[in-house]
């Protein structure tokens, strides 16, 4: 196990490397640079040139890349071009918010998706199954920005049950439980929107995995032992059915982070997604690249975690 872990971590190094190169490549191909978003008649071209020079933007690409990598390896993610903020700090400030959002979405996806999938599978060919099937497809089919806006409209504006946006009630001085409740009331809509497609996918996946497992011989064995349906489903079948669902764990991470771009934007969530959108628009390379590196590391850790979980749930796999 330990070896497996080390091996996986080592394997991810070239991938990380590739990610940095690819990000850099994309950023280089993108026309325009941060200076150009600042075009201003009062800044003379000469001055612009000077500024570009001082930012190293006139160096050959590979020099820029190497400089950047050197800094990264020393733990310095650089500074934003326009505003000179330390990127590391910027991301660290945003990290908790994104974690809160994607984390709750993640939990929702599995906590809701798995039971529904099991229910659907055990009620195959029944009305409940068809109903859930259609619902899950609807969940996959709604564009998230639309769902988000719709939810704001209904739950925040029409019904007034939930706050429209943001992460905390500004100007409040909640502590302890009230603070938690405040967080919850803010996170519930965005995480639902973010989780929706994943809930549906987890549900579909659990359903088919469960159906597959239910047709296995060992389920027949369990039945033949005289176990009750619930024990058969929840002990014997579910444990096996969850093994393939774990792959979704890993896969859903980039999906959720990607979804966070739009969700955070709509709900004004102070996370990395909204930072990402801003940065792309502003051509803030250091931020984009650092963000990318960050998400990639998260995604890879997620996959690693999924592998470990895999091994944990499936005794046949021992690394």
């Amino acid at each position: 196990m330990k070896n497996f872990f080390i091996k996986r971590v080592l394997q991810s190094i070239p991938i990380l490397f590739g990610i940095t190169i690819m990000t850099f490549f994309i950023m280089q191909l993108a026309p325009g640079n941060p200076m150009e978003t600042m075009i201003n008649p009062k800044i003379s071209p000469e001055e612009m040139r000077r500024m570009r020079d001082s930012l190293g933007l006139n160096d050959p690409i590979y020099v820029q890349y190497i400089t950047w990598m050197k800094e990264i390896l020393q733990g310095n993610l650089g500074y934003t071009v326009k505003t000179g903020q330390p990127v590391g700090q910027l991301i660290l400030e945003r990290l908790p918010a994104t974690f809160l959002l994607t984390g709750s979405a993640f939990v929702m996806a599995f906590v809701i998706g798995i039971p529904l999938g099991v229910y659907s599978a055990t009620h195959r060919y029944k009305v409940q199954d068809y109903f859930l099937t259609v619902i899950s497809f609807v969940g996959i089919s709604i564009p998230s920005f639309f769902l988000g806006l719709g939810m704001i409209f209904i739950f925040a504006l029409k019904l007034g049950w939930l706050p429209t946006s943001g992460m905390v009630t500004i100007g409040s001085d909640f502590t302890g439980l009230t603070l938690l409740a405040d967080y919850l009331s803010h996170v519930i809509m965005p995480s639902t929107v973010l989780a929706m497609p994943t809930i549906a996918i987890v549900m579909r996946f659990t359903r088919s995995s469960m159906l597959e497992v239910l047709s296995q011989d060992y389920i027949r064995t369990a039945d033949a032992k005289g176990l009750s349906k619930n024990v058969v489903y929840l002990k014997h079948a579910l444990r096996n059915a969850l093994i393939p669902v774990i792959t979704i764990f890993g896969l859903s991470i980039p999906f959720l982070f990607g979804g966070a771009y739009i969700t955070e934007y709509i709900f004004n969530w102070p996370g990395m997604g909204s930072l990402g959108i801003q940065s792309i628009v502003a051509r803030e390379y250091p931020v984009i690249m650092a963000l990318n590196l960050f998400t990639s590391i998260l995604v890879m850790s997620g996959n690693l975690l999924a592998d470990i979980l895999y091994a944990w749930t499936d005794p046949r796999i021992r690394y």
Partner: protein, 534 residues
């Protein structure tokens, strides 16, 4: 009259205190006015800092931190008398040294925050920047409350260039201005302004509290919270009363007008939206063609369909509420027949597909439309339809602003800027406005300011205009200067290198509990000191 006066007084007394949340669409990058000030930055920095001078409602410069000033006979030396007893938020006194520190720093060789132009005309600034001098010789501290600036030549825009928030010397002393961008004070600023910084929650809000010792008198509010986020989201927050003031997209104004606690307030931005042409590109070198296109545009209809009451037809490249606007200019009426006859006059013939062509080249061009402003994108679509009506095909190409810039200010393979060629672009739509001084137009229309030396990417060249532009820059007398600029406006309208389309004002929606919100071209928060809540 006395009644209303006493009422007003009662208002401000009784309602003193309270807190208010104002929302904007993007988060400030930093809170240092010397480092790339964007609108989102100045919305906050206006409340934190003061400048030496500032524009009044008519865009005339009046003193702010400066009590008064005198200009010498030769129009080159400005002696400022500073207000006394002004204190920084941390309690330290504000002195002439602070002023000198700020403006010297702008000329520092390593400074790259984009504000060098403000001091460029000062004697010795260029030398200092080139490293040939120890200090800027044209900046001179006379005593604690007096400072003197000397310019090389009479410079009309100089005074307006001093409209920039001043930083405390004691926090940045010894820090290389090249490193200012990275300095922590950008996120925990100290100024002299009406509000003090308290906290900044990244991605969420910035909180300010009142500076009771403010030298112009204490603000009414105890606290101002600045939030940032997508326009729709902020609007939703307004509706749910989490936000008191926010900008609304024009199209959204109907959704708040029905709310009994909402009030719409308009902010004039001193900006004009226009279509620009690459005079080097096919078709557009000929003023007849540009005029033909201008005649094909039903500006009135664009404004009513898209902007409604928040827009007005523009015929001048100078904003109509500014003194630079010449009320008497050639106007291109909406007249399709006129368009077509102008095209014919320019040598165009309609081909079998109903499109005009000349020398075998059909009049089809790419119309660059930057994304980001919905109304601008919509106008472009209407323009395309209108031009199609007269037999000219515009193919819309949407692109984001930085990308458009790479077309307007092209670079050679080595990354250095080069001159615009016919292939770089054909036509585009953009907005342009006066920030402080109409001298800004010089860089856009002066023959010598074509890329790579300026922003004259349309390649406009008119010797008369060049002279007028240079003259106005040296003319300190406002009336005379106005004459020069009116003449520029007229020439530009005659050549129609830009087709002005409309002026757009920004609607803000304000909770009725808020009093005194009165945004203008200087910024939405410019008068935050006067705001109060019920």
């Amino acid at each position: 009259d006395p009644v209303s006066k006493s009422e007003e007084g009662k208002d401000s007394e009784a309602k003193s205190g309270g807190s208010l949340t104002v929302a904007f669409n993007s988060e400030p990058g930093n809170l240092n006015p010397m480092v790339y000030a964007t609108t989102s930055d100045t919305n906050v920095t206006h409340m934190l800092y003061d400048s030496l001078v500032m524009p009044d409602e008519e865009l005339k410069m009046v003193g702010s931190l400066a009590e008064s000033w005198e200009v010498s006979e030769d129009n080159k030396t400005y002696t400022f008398k500073l207000k006394e007893g002004v204190k920084w938020h941390d309690g330290k006194p504000f002195t002439a040294d602070d002023v000198e520190f700020n403006f010297t720093a702008l000329a520092h060789p390593d400074y790259d925050g984009g504000a060098f132009w403000r001091v460029e005309s000062i004697v010795g600034a260029v030398e200092y920047q080139a490293g040939k001098a120890e200090s800027v010789s044209g900046i001179e501290v006379v005593d604690e409350t007096t400072i003197k600036f000397t310019t090389k030549d009479p410079a009309a825009p100089f005074l307006s260039g001093l409209f920039i928030g001043l930083l405390p010397k004691h926090t940045l002393d010894g820090v290389n201005p090249g490193e200012w961008a990275k300095h922590e004070s950008n996120r925990s600023p100290v100024g002299t302004g009406p509000f003090k910084f308290t906290k900044w929650e990244t991605g969420q809000y910035i909180e300010l509290e009142k500076n009771a010792d403010y030298f112009k008198g204490s603000p009414i509010l105890d606290k101002v919270i600045v939030r940032f986020g997508d326009a729709n989201t902020m609007l939703a927050s307004f509706i749910s009363k989490d936000v008191d003031i926010t900008t609304v997209p024009v199209a959204e104004t109907p959704s708040v007008s029905s709310l009994d606690y909402a009030e719409l307030v308009t902010q004039n931005q001193l900006s004009v939206y226009y279509v620009g042409f690459n005079s080097k590109a096919d078709h557009f070198g000929d003023p007849l063609v540009r005029k033909a296109l201008a005649h094909a545009i039903d500006k009135e209809n664009i404004v009513t369909s898209i902007l409604g009451e928040y827009g007005a037809v523009a015929d001048d490249v100078f904003p109509s509420s500014h003194w630079s606007h010449n009320p008497d200019l050639p106007v291109y009426e909406f007249d399709k027949d006129k368009s077509e006859s102008l095209l014919k006059e320019a040598g165009y013939e309609k081909n079998s597909k109903g499109i005009y062509e000349k020398d075998g080249k059909p009049f089809i061009f790419t119309f660059e439309v930057p994304t980001g402003t919905k109304e601008r994108e919509q106008s472009a679509v209407l323009l395309k339809q209108m031009w199609e009506q007269i037999g000219v095909t515009a193919e819309i190409r949407s692109l984001d602003f930085p990308t458009l810039v790479t077309k307007l200010l092209p670079k050679d393979d080595g990354g250095a800027q080069r001159a615009v060629t016919a292939d770089d672009y054909s036509a585009y739509i953009l907005g342009f406005g006066i920030e402080a001084d109409p001298d800004e137009y010089r860089s856009y229309f002066g023959t010598n300011y074509q890329p790579p030396n300026g922003y004259n990417f349309v390649g406009y060249s008119n010797a008369d205009v060049d002279v007028l532009l240079e003259n106005q820059a040296k003319e300190l007398d406002l009336d005379k200067r106005q004459e020069y600029i009116w003449e520029v406006g007229k020439k530009l309208a005659e050549d129609e290198i830009w087709i002005p389309l409309y002026e757009q004002n920004t609607p803000h929606v304000v909770n009725t509990r808020v009093k005194g919100f009165n945004p203008d071209f200087r910024g939405a928060t410019f008068n935050a000191k006067e705001w109060s809540v019920e």
